[in-house]
Symmetry: C2
Subunit: 432 residues, 2 copies
């Protein structure tokens, strides 16, 4: 690849993001060339249906039915993988390109979360850059910030709002007081949630992204299996209202830090103090917070999804590759990535919010308090409002820092009390 | 510089930041080596007083009384300029290093704002990188975000809270209801403001940083003279209270955008809507917002000053230089930087907040409204509260978008009314 000649891109996958990348490269051809030092030309594309109208001018662009053939074609200099999915065509395409020593730019979080370490090794063996800025938090250059901008720091914690669908649902529940199912249905109508929403609302998408951030922040192998995941299906409007009263907002947070028990990676509904920047990230916006021992707390927020923000990230990677700026895929060389055991969730230490539905009669609180005391769980606050003698009323409490294992045992005991009518609801509180 | 050998740093300036850089490089020697691909060794330092105790172990480090001699020394591979100031020793040191073809990392915003274009040209002629992440917003990797992470975007506007001293003062005024002079005195006692605070509170420091952001965002020559600057001395607690009532907070904002009249660069107290991320950036924190045509609005916030955050930025640059990742100083090659005329402030179009102290008697509002009407300034809201017939009361109004020139003429007319007792106060409102 002579420094002044143009670079020929092969784009595998022409869905929303693929079409966005083609449009960006067309609209900003000169700007991109000025910043990359050479022209980037879409030379080949691959997608399932050749006849589908995508509103793109693909005259003169070679068409491949098979993305692996595109990746291996000698006229393609850089492969852009936008097929999606952890296996199948996406994986085969990336592996084929890297095996040929070709740079790969991908937006595929599932692929990188499942196979990131192995792909990084393959990339290094073949001397081919593997870049994936678009895989985490869309248009926010968070991978670059972690890997380069904050490279002089020991990261103490990284956390973020990593799924726009969940943040939209939780924000809308708070603003309207409506329940989860109703807001989800509306989000599906508006196109903010998929017909099958499980991937988003059960926290899997956020877990993929968190696993990647963890590896970048701590120089560890990608460990998706080590992420503890809990989605937002069980968050009720009652909890959101109590959160506000207690000075919190509920966000689906991904959090990673190194503890004495190993690397803790967790995705769950989280109470975040109202005074923190992340509490004010609403709607479909994403945010990532990096705590570095020298830089302090750095917050990045922006659009985490969509054709245009994702295209922005893909082309930023392409510019780096074209300009010859190489960075190891996960901050340090793949062979130097550490393997640190996952800290089990039972060993987590933190504060908790608990909501119980109890029969309003004397002695209930004393039984609950005794169950907590027996597990050495220290209460911070308790709210019992709305008296209705003999009927079900909510009791809400927050705790000081405690072990998750003790908390779970206490909730088991409390759940078995005859006066406690529903499964206790527990939401973790994060000190920020 | 063989790829595997260590790199010898010459650090010119051992003030707060210089000492922070030395400490970081010592504490994180292994981490930095892993990410840079080679060891960074402090080989030489230069400062005024050799005997001063800085709490640093400088055994084995060569001492230069003259930083230019340090820059030219054949045993120094990279020069880190932390002297400060637009001229004198700092400028001479950077020029000497670049003339020798040595990479330079600097935290010097004044130097870069005054001489950035010329230094970028010199750096390119000699093939030496010139990096200055630490010059803007301390520990926040905002230069990297603009120059690389968002490189695929046409930036439509860049703005930010660029001076922690001013943000601390304005935040404290809002929280306590106290006046500027009192809060400034307290900030000086706490070390958040200098004994001579003019550089910060008159907006000069923010103007330096804005001029650099403008160049990075729009690919233009650095044009410090083109920045319109207004500090925070005239912001009163009354205005802050009215801002809150109208749904705004007052921030010292630096804003740059391309208009039909040229590049608009301005630093002034600004009303920002309470619902925007930047409104919630409080205390000494800084924030930069980049609006890109593909990425959308990206917000970066964190610590904008201090030894440790600044050291984080300096060493991030050193890692990039050591790893051979070269980026043109201002996004595109220096010879390709555009020269776009500065848009005069009179041509600015926007909304305005105005506070008048008037005699509370019939007809006052009619006279004010007539003066606005005559200049085709359209009122959006008006508040006249606290009746005190015959005495001075505040009248506050906001306008729809209008030309600054028309606004100034209207305020001139209003200021000359017999019923208007003080110079009208005007604060610009930014649509975010």
């Amino acid at each position: 690849m002579a420094q002044s000649s143009s670079l020929k891109l092969g784009i595998a996958g022409l869905g929303t993001v693929g079409a966005g990348v083609v449009r960006l490269l067309e609209k900003h051809a000169d700007l991109v060339a000025a910043r990359a030092g050479r022209r980037l030309v879409v030379a080949a594309v691959s997608a399932r249906d050749k006849r589908k109208d995508r509103g793109l001018d693909l005259a003169g662009v070679r068409w491949f039915a098979d993305p692996v053939a595109l990746a291996e074609d000698s006229e393609v200099d850089i492969v852009v993988e936008l097929i999606g999915g952890a296996e199948g065509a996406a994986r085969a395409t990336v592996e084929a390109a890297l095996a040929k020593g070709k740079p790969v730019v991908t937006a595929n979080k599932a692929l990188m979360a499942h196979h990131g370490t192995a792909l990084a090794r393959l990339a290094e063996e073949r001397g081919a850059p593997l870049a994936f800025e678009a895989a985490v938090a869309g248009g926010i250059p968070v991978i670059k910030a972690l890997r380069e901008g904050l490279a002089a720091n020991q990261v103490t914690r990284v956390y973020g709002i990593l799924n726009g669908t969940c943040n939209y649902i939780l924000s809308t529940m708070r603003e309207t007081g409506r329940e989860f199912a109703e807001v989800l249905a509306e989000a599906q109508k508006l196109g903010y949630a998929e017909a099958d929403p499980a991937f988003d609302i059960d926290g899997i998408d956020a877990a993929h992204k968190l696993a990647l951030l963890t590896s970048l922040a701590f120089g560890t192998e990608v460990d998706l299996a080590g992420v503890s995941v809990e989605g937002i299906r069980h968050v009720s409007s009652l909890d959101i209202a109590y959160a506000a009263e207690l000075g919190y907002r509920i966000k689906l947070l991904g959090v990673a830090r190194v503890t004495e028990h190993g690397i803790e990676q967790r995705v769950h509904p989280t109470m975040v103090p109202i005074g923190t920047p992340i509490a004010h990230v609403e709607g479909v916006y994403n945010a990532v917070v990096v705590e570095g021992d020298f830089a302090g707390r750095v917050v990045l927020q922006g659009r985490g999804a969509g054709a245009e923000p994702t295209a922005s990230a893909v082309v930023a990677d392409l510019i780096d590759v074209a300009a010859g700026r190489a960075v190891p895929t996960f901050t340090v060389p793949a062979h130097a990535l550490k393997r640190i055991p996952a800290a089990p969730m039972e060993r987590h230490t933190g504060a908790y919010y608990v909501r119980l539905m109890v029969v309003d009669k004397p002695g209930v609180i004393a039984d609950i308090a005794a169950a907590l005391r027996d597990e050495r769980v220290s209460m911070e606050a308790m709210i019992q409002r709305g008296r209705a003698p003999g009927e079900a009323v909510p009791v809400v409490l927050t705790t000081h820092d405690t072990d998750e294992a003790a908390m779970r045992r206490a909730l088991g005991t409390i759940g078995r009390l005859a006066t406690v009518l529903e499964e206790p609801r527990m939401i973790r509180i994060e000190h920020l």
